[in-house]
Symmetry: C2
Amino acid sequence: MPDQPPPSSDFTGVPLRGERALIARLAGELRATPGGVPFGDDLAGIGPEAGALLWSTDMLMDGVDFRSAAHAWRDIGRKAMAVNLSDCAACATVPVAALCAVALSDDLSMDDAVELFRGIRDCGEAFGCPLVGGDTNSWPQPTVVAVTVIARPDGARAPVLRGGARPGDGIYLSGRVGGSLLGRHLHPRPRVREALEINRRLQPRAMIDISDGLVIDLWHICEASGCGAEIDAGALDAVIHPDAEAMARQTGRSARDHALYDGEDFELIVVVPEEAPEADIHELGLLPLGRMLAAPVLRLRDGHGQATALEIRGWEHFRGADARG
Amino acid sequence: MPDQPPPSSDFTGVPLRGERALIARLAGELRATPGGVPFGDDLAGIGPEAGALLWSTDMLMDGVDFRSAAHAWRDIGRKAMAVNLSDCAACATVPVAALCAVALSDDLSMDDAVELFRGIRDCGEAFGCPLVGGDTNSWPQPTVVAVTVIARPDGARAPVLRGGARPGDGIYLSGRVGGSLLGRHLHPRPRVREALEINRRLQPRAMIDISDGLVIDLWHICEASGCGAEIDAGALDAVIHPDAEAMARQTGRSARDHALYDGEDFELIVVVPEEAPEADIHELGLLPLGRMLAAPVLRLRDGHGQATALEIRGWEHFRGADARG
């Protein structure tokens, strides 16, 4: 673990509140990590008895992760499956099958409910991941959808986890980021096939999918790997999605800020050894971003070599009651 | 399938609404049934690639399946795990590991959240089923907890499904039922070990755990097996739980009615061939209830041989919007 906290971090000292703090407390109590996968990675190991399978679950809530008043139920279903497939991609694993548990709002129509399941099914089937069962409930509150996906390793290749990055490793993105709230967040394209190809050709040291934001998810790699990271400002400018530019015009924030802190891009952060072949990196369409550092910091480096600390924040659940004390 | 609808059934003709109707519509679209497990059974097969593993998910919602104002969070956590372990028991399978996804209400304290997870963990560990990961969210609505459990078959023994019952088979219960709302519903004792022993000694034709009520869950076996069932009135009186008697004094309904229609007992309905050895049945503590019939009916038979149809109803989610139409 880093022996020096990063500047401007939510996570200096003892974390008191928020999803990460809760997970940190739980990780101390729930030390069962079958298959050697640390608690909190994108996928969990299932257990020695179950071979090398991994699994993941993600819960989406109406009003938080989607808005049923504005979004089509089939799109909502697709997203519920896609975020799980993105977790499979983050580990370069092959999705096998999915379960879905729902708490449907009482005012949902039967047709809406079927559309929701069709979206889940369609997205899964596009990635060879059939929906094989689940649990159907209803209640007088907004709809909640929880999908669980099982994945297997890609042949003999071990899953790629968050904790393998080393100082000097190169950091790349599978695509441009920022501004997903303009609509892309509802149509995530899980990078399952890309991740498998990346793993076959580059054997990455670490990967993660960007769900909470580029900075916070890169920081997850830093924390799990016990190092820091440096983003080149010029490289950052080259990975800014046009939607981030468009949002910047609406919000008054910079496009860089949207690229660094907007969540739900579902692109991959890929960390590869310094000596990874340039030609492969290019052919895979990976965009350079920066490099891992020995010091446990996260910083932005401009063209003159000047580095400034990046504020480490992103979307995080379960912070509300903290503020209220 | 039965060619004659049962009397007084919700399910005569075309089902229009409700969880079962939704599942029926989905089952037509989601025909993927790896491992030959029909959609809608207690566990689902994971896929041919994943060997013989099975899995199950159950979602509990505050105000529906528990009341956080009245119940301890550790008990709520235990229940969230126990209902999944009960699904493992229903199939006579061995739990392997669990995931948990939560939408925590914003006003939940960190200590409450940790207690919830401890309850999930404690109940799982008591059955060799570690909690290995999950997804933590928060929102301004009541808390939702979804646990997913993976199970494996017990050695070479195939999982026991709902659809294997035959006319003439004997119907037994693993314990007395009714009145669980007086408190037992919060402390379910999943019959995992009992189910494995039952499977080893009796090779049951079909099993299910009683979550929605004795009548409706027995009817699930009837539907899946294409037959009917007959409950002996004297046998029914012998399986009435004292809590059903106590509730009857409060509600004015009969104790029989509570035994037949109350949910969340989590006892097993066990269907065995007529020739199953009496001594084993006795040693396993199984309580006789009745027998399977060829006709697709569900009826109560009194001491004089007179049979009356049982109304087929039980707890069912997702019926609200139907009434509103």
